[in-house]
């Protein structure tokens, strides 16, 4: 048989929650009302925080901010499927995921406002810091998953990445290590179609990003990223598999970046407003709300109450962030090494003398 088929890879897409709020009951994950309402609350928190941060930025009270609008379902679906001991290795847009996993909102805001205390997560928080050079977190995530596996911990390392960032070499190296060492790692691509101004078509000729997984010896699956149940279901399965030694999964969540890339960007320079409008129809929050309404769990009053509550939570975060006093200059030097070497001690004193002058 001189031409033989030696490998077949089938990549599938999962959808559960339709834009009209109905679900495919056969695929619908087991979630009670409280769980669903929690998901909604988190998604709303993400959206509210995002809007607030953009406002603060316009007022000059916030640094560059990367909007998560439109991507709430991916983040919330994933963290809702996580257990206490799991690790989150975010990219840079996972604000609500980080908050749900234990990073105080004011800390997160302080980070984006350019305050070093924004990097001081509470002890024990199993969340990695924001890795600014894109893609570079994937090897870390593989390493964490290897670590969990080596210690026999029934936990999973959950890593996020953007579609554009999958073009980096570290995407490949991280995925490949995870495959070889059967790491307890699940990789989630937030495919929001754009990397700043570069559309997915210019990022790769691959039909899907999910199918890349097969080249590393583990499965890839695509989900509707604006469908919190599909994300949850796919994650739940993949996390379970990883926790029990079944190895990694790549989940491509197809979503859309509704806002500018960051507050430093102007997406109208390169994006068709019709494309944006069409994605607005598929809004993940609206969709979940329709589902809850369909079940009789939700109405305008509850929605208004939820929005007020979210706004309050966000205002408190902002207030706590704003209350932070400036830090002493020595903070620049204090965490370079476990013990400060003499030359940094000298430089810190130099700066202190200068500031006193």
């Amino acid at each position: 048989m001189p031409v033989m088929t030696i490998h077949e890879a089938v990549t599938r897409r999962l959808e559960v929650l339709a834009p009209d709020g109905t679900v495919d009951e056969a695929l619908m994950p087991q979630l009670d009302r409280e769980q669903v309402e929690t998901m909604h609350r988190w998604m709303l928190l993400g959206r509210t925080l995002d809007a607030k941060a953009i406002t603060l930025q316009r007022q000059g009270r916030m640094g560059t901010w990367a909007s998560l609008r439109g991507q709430e379902a991916v983040q919330v679906g994933a963290v809702a499927a996580m257990e206490d001991d799991d690790w989150l290795i975010p990219a840079f847009r996972e604000h609500v995921a980080m908050i749900v996993r234990g990073v105080p909102g004011e800390t997160l805001l302080a980070y984006w406002a350019g305050d070093e205390r924004g990097s001081a997560f509470p002890p024990g928080t199993r969340v990695f810091p924001v890795p600014v050079p894109v893609g570079s977190q994937f090897p870390h995530a593989a390493g964490v998953g290897m670590s969990l596996r080596m210690r026999g911990e029934q936990a999973v390392a959950v890593a996020f990445i953007g579609d554009g960032s999958t073009s980096e070499g570290d995407f490949h190296e991280g995925m490949n290590f995870a495959g070889v060492f059967r790491a307890n790692t699940v990789f989630i691509v937030q495919n929001n179609q754009w990397a700043i101004s570069v559309p997915l078509s210019r990022q790769t000729a691959s039909e899907t990003l999910a199918q890349r997984a097969w080249g590393y010896g583990f499965p890839g699956i695509q989900v509707d990223g604006n469908d919190v149940f599909a994300v949850y279901a796919a994650c739940r399965g993949a996390f379970e598999r990883a926790r029990t030694g079944g190895g990694p999964t790549l989940i491509e969540a197809v979503t859309y970046r509704m806002g500018d890339h960051t507050t430093a960007d102007d997406a109208s320079r390169y994006r068709d407003p019709e494309e944006v409008a069409s994605w607005a129809q598929r809004d993940p929050l609206d969709r979940l709300r329709r589902f809850m309404e369909g079940r009789g769990w939700w109405d305008d009053t509850r929605q208004a109450a939820a929005e007020t509550a979210a706004a309050e939570v966000v205002e408190e975060m902002v207030a706590r962030m704003m209350a932070m006093e400036p830090q002493p200059p020595r903070e620049i030097f204090g965490h370079m090494f476990a013990r400060m070497p003499e030359y940094l001690e000298e430089q810190a004193s130099e700066l202190e003398r200068e500031v006193e002058r």
């Binding site: 640094g63 790769t204 620049i332 940094l344």
Partner: protein
């Protein structure tokens, strides 16, 4: 390279139309000019196409030259530089943009192990006529990794030229020279002063040679040596010192590799005092090379130790404390005073 004094002005001798441009506009103009003159010049990088670059350094190029010559690439720095090497070795002159100098590490193997070595490795058969442009340095309140100055890594590594303009006219003239250079050039753009002032910049093919430093200010008491966004700080320090009768000479190096050793030695030989200013961390920075050079060549003329006013040997802090990290006028003035009082 000049072995005597640094050239005093960059304006070409021939009379020429000029227009008032910012530094980033001058960068843009240089690329446009080069592309008009030579169809082998290409622009490649992340967001350089319809978006015109995150700092608008490639604005309008896509519209003028089309997607075949202004190429939005996948998000992968090693791939960008690596493919550009393949293109440069087969007839093109790619001008590559790395979005921020903080993201050059993933490309460093391609830059230092390949671009910088290809001519030597092929005994002159293949050059890599490529420019790698990137905004560098702090001062714009950007997130982590967006404010770095890694010039020392490239100055130390053989085979690649390192150019840093500090004025719009030089930005245009040096970039054009870099694009038509037959060897790879790292072109560092001080983003903090991208738009801080406008200069008269000659239209058309304005060239500034790679190598000679620019004498930005004459003085007899001390030599300030700087590049990029530190040049305005050095000039401001010189102004302040002048009020007390201290006349500082300011050398804008413009090219860090090859470095204008002649101009440095000549100036410090005269003044007997020097302060080197850079944003990068102090330890083993380019300031150390300059300091060592002065000591090697001017020991007997030196009236005081050469001082280095630099970033600290720490990570550049996030936006709120960035100001404390970056060298500035007053820190330079204080260093000069210590030098005078030695």
């Amino acid at each position: 390279m000049s072995t005597t004094t640094a050239v005093e002005t960059t304006v070409a001798e021939t009379r020429r139309e000029t227009s008032r441009r910012t530094l980033v506009q001058a960068v843009r103009d240089a690329m446009a000019e080069a592309m008009r003159r030579d169809p082998s010049v290409l622009v490649m990088g992340e967001d350089v196409g319809p978006n015109g670059g995150v700092f608008r350094a490639t604005e309008g190029l896509y519209e003028e030259f089309g997607p075949e010559r202004v190429i939005d690439t996948p998000l992968a720095e090693s791939g960008i530089v690596g493919t550009a090497i393949g293109m440069a070795m087969t007839g093109w002159r790619p001008v590559v943009e790395i979005q921020f100098m903080g993201f050059v590490y993933p490309a460093i193997n391609q830059i230092l192990a390949h671009a910088a070595r290809m001519r030597n490795r092929t005994r002159g058969r293949f050059g890599v006529p490529m420019v790698i442009r990137m905004p560098y340095g702090g001062g714009i309140h950007a997130p982590e990794h967006h404010s770095e100055s890694y010039e020392a890594l490239f100055v130390h590594s053989p085979g690649i030229k390192v150019v840093v303009p500090s004025t719009p006219a030089d930005a245009k003239g040096l970039l054009l020279e870099a694009i038509f250079d037959d060897d790879p050039v790292l072109f560092l753009e001080p983003k903090r002063i991208y738009r801080s002032s406008r200069d008269e910049v000659p239209e058309g093919s304005h060239r500034v040679p790679i190598g000679p430093a620019r004498l930005a200010r004459k003085g007899r008491d001390v030599t300030l040596i700087a590049w990029g966004a530190m040049v305005p700080q050095a000039l401001a320090a010189a102004e302040l010192l002048a009020r007390d009768g201290v006349e500082a000479e300011v050398l804008d190096l413009r090219t860090l590799d090859p470095m204008d050793r002649g101009a440095i030695v000549e100036s410090v030989g005269r003044t007997g005092r020097a302060v080197v200013v850079h944003e990068a961390p102090r330890q083993a920075g380019v300031g150390a090379e300059i300091s060592a050079l002065i000591m090697e060549r001017c020991l007997l003329q030196l009236l005081a130790p050469v001082r280095r006013v630099t970033g600290f040997d720490t990570v550049m802090p996030l936006a709120r404390m960035e100001r404390l990290y970056l060298p500035h006028r007053d820190r330079i003035v204080a260093a000069v005073r210590e030098t005078l009082e030695f």
